[in-house]
Amino acid sequence: MQPFTKLTGIVAPVDRVNVDTDAIIPKQFLKRIERSGFGQFLFYEWRFDEKGEPIPDFSLNQPRYQGASILISRANFGCGSSREHAPWAILDYGFRVVIAPSFADIFYNNCFKNGILPIKLSEEQVEELFQRTNAKEGYALTVDLESKIISDADGLTIAFDLDEHRRQFLLQGLDDIGLTLQHEDKIAAYEEKHKARLANSY
């Protein structure tokens, strides 16, 4: 996994609550057996009409948001299914950071597995970012995971909170399967102790 330390990038808004995983990556695109190539389908039904033409109103189709790497949205972002295709699509499109007042659990968890930093801020702070993003073309933020600070060129600084383990995980781009396997002796001991139960003989 690609480590995440610090990023400066253009901010793109998706101004909706409850952005669900069906919206992030519609099911017709879940059939691929690879992890890559999902970015072209991100927010597909909001981005493209029935003929596959871009819908000009949708933020990601507007020239000012091209090349954005930070996504801001509203509460309960990523609700719905467990499909990791959602963070894969977000990452593949070019986003490394998603900022919202709250996230659905599975999506939030899936982000960290893919080097995406989901940041929870208050409703007011997110509203402030929406206003600044809308007000200024090319509005950019710097997200520093070392110091847990978000800042812009106009003097705004916002501290964000993140579980320390998750922070280290992203900073170092760790392989968590390897971490779990360091406890092989304990896994084996557990399996031995619960042998009967795991064999349905209780």
Binding site: V17, N18, K27, K31, E45, A75, C79, A104, K186
Partner: protein, 489 residues
């Protein structure tokens, strides 16, 4: 909204003398390693696998030279892509590739697969309990958010992403931060004509789609105790629609009776020993939860959703709400967008909404009792000429049982299409897809934009309400239904 309190020992393990909730007992029984400030490593007793969220996980194993640690605790089926007509003929080449990939992966890694040739194939969350794989006290995961279904047995069951699928395949463990606990207490008796589906839809309509984010729910109350196993599965299934990754119901005689004799249930004396262990799982008297939520269901009506989020629902005697009367700006904006998508006018009575399509099935409501309930409504009636109605059994076994009882004939005579098992129109990854603008009464779990097909409009209801809507051509109050005759089973 609800009471919440902090608890100092939240991340720790309670000592033996402390009173524990069922969740805490199961959690403590599966932690193989914990360290201050880090997620716990949790042993997983049962891993269910389907074709959509597993290919990249198996590929990851191959790339790192890892094996499936416990193929004996891993069970797979294909459900999302499976056509419900002419099922062996998957026309979409990418769907076919995904299904074939699962077959190949299961062969290569030695995982038991219930494929299209077996009677057990079906929606993974219908199949697991049917096979007796789901036991109280187990930790169960699947790359599917509706894994919460299995919590109906008092198992800690939750959905995971594909990276975690790979993690469990490789280690039979998961790194998990300990969730908080929430008690959802149903007060009062369930009125006649009101189903388990209405209980969970009513709960989410009241508290929203993220009230339980970060929590594991335990459902309690006399109304829960009175539910059958299948009804309990309907409730736990939609825990995720309230934001909770898992929902639990304490095991009791209903649970044990359901399990007895099933293929993977313990046999003979082992079953009795298991029951003794399972009885110990029940939350201790006086155990405390991080949050408590209550819902009085004594006046609950059959529910219908009107919007594009499962929390946007109301009773059948109500009307489509006026967005400007909603309490917050975000809710108003969301409701306006939802009503525009759904093409509904505020103030329209729910009973005046005409429908084009009916879908009866899914991991929420695709079990035999659901089909019996729908057939009872449909018997002796004809589907409205403006409506296409399909019935998709949750598994091959559900289909077989329904046919044994003659339910298929009731549906077919009434004009419903009788299909083969799979996820079908719950998420429309197979050929069962709504056309743009079509409006569907669906017994599934999500009414998101485009979920059942681009531009499709989904209203979530119970099987009884769906069957009645198929016949009337619009939503109708099933409590007033004139049953032609009882279905004898």
């Amino acid at each position: 909204m609800f009471t919440e309190r902090s608890r100092k020992d939240h991340d720790g393990v309670k000592s033996m003398s402390q009173k524990k909730t069922m969740f805490e007992k199961i959690w403590d029984n599966h932690v193989i390693h914990s360290e201050e400030g880090k997620p716990s490593i949790l042993y997983i007793d049962l891993h269910l696998v389907h074709e959509v969220t597993s290919p990249q996980a198996f590929e990851g194993l191959r790339m790192s030279g890892r094996k499936v640690r416990r193929p004996d605790l891993t069970f797979a089926t294909m459900d999302h892509n499976v056509p419900t007509k002419d099922r062996f003929n998957i026309k979409d080449p990418i769907s076919k590739q995904q299904v074939d990939t699962l077959t190949r992966n299961c062969q290569e890694f030695g995982v038991k697969l219930y494929d299209l040739n077996t009677i057990d194939q079906g929606v993974v969350h219908v199949m697991g309990p049917e096979l007796g794989l789901t036991h109280p006290g187990k930790t169960i995961v699947c790359g599917d958010s509706h894994t919460s279904t299995h919590g109906a047995f008092g198992a800690l069951a939750f959905g995971i992403g594909t990276s975690e699928v790979e993690h469990v395949l490789a280690t039979q463990c998961l790194q998990q931060a300990k969730p908080k606990t929430m008690k959802v207490h149903f007060i009062g008796e369930r009125p006649v004509g009101v189903t388990a589906k209405d209980m969970i839809l009513g709960l989410i309509a009241k508290y929203g789609t993220d009230f339980a984010t970060g929590y594991v729910i335990e459902y309690t109350g006399e109304a829960i105790r009175a539910l059958s196993m299948e009804e309990r599965m309907t409730i736990c299934n939609m825990s995720i629609e309230g934001g909770a990754r898992a929902g639990l119901i304490a095991p009791d005689e209903t649970t044990f009776n359901y399990l007895r004799g099933r293929e993977y249930a313990p046999k003979g004396e082992a079953f009795d020993r298991a029951v003794e262990q399972w009885k110990q799982l029940v939350s201790d008297e006086g155990a405390t939860y991080d949050a408590v939520v209550e819902l009085d269901i004594s006046k609950l009506e059959p529910q219908v959703t009107w919007g594009t989020s499962p929390g946007m629902g109301t009773g059948i005697t109500s009307s489509v709400p006026y967005p400007d009367q909603l309490p917050t700006e975000n809710e108003r904006k969301a409701a306006e967008k939802a009503l525009a998508y759904m093409d509904l006018k505020p103030g329209t009575p729910m009973t005046e909404i005409p429908i084009d399509y009916v879908f009866i099935g899914s991991c929420t409501n695709g079990r035999i009792e659901d089909l019996r309930a729908a057939a009872r409504v449909a018997k002796g009636y004809k589907v409205n000429p403006n409506v296409t109605a399909i019935v998709v059994p949750g598994s091959g076994r559900v289909k077989m049982q329904a046919e044994k009882e003659g339910l298929d004939k009731i549906f077919i005579e009434a004009g419903f299409e009788w299909r083969d098992a799979g996820c079908s129109m719950c998420l429309a990854m197979n050929p069962d897809v709504l056309q743009p603008g079509q409006r569907c009464a669906s017994t599934s779990n999500r009414n998101f934009e485009g979920r059942q097909g681009r531009g499709g409009r989904t209203h979530l209801v119970s099987p009884e309400m769906a069957a009645a809507a198929a016949i009337v051509g619009k939503f109708t109050d099933v409590r007033k239904w004139k049953f032609h005759s009882e279905v004898t089973v």
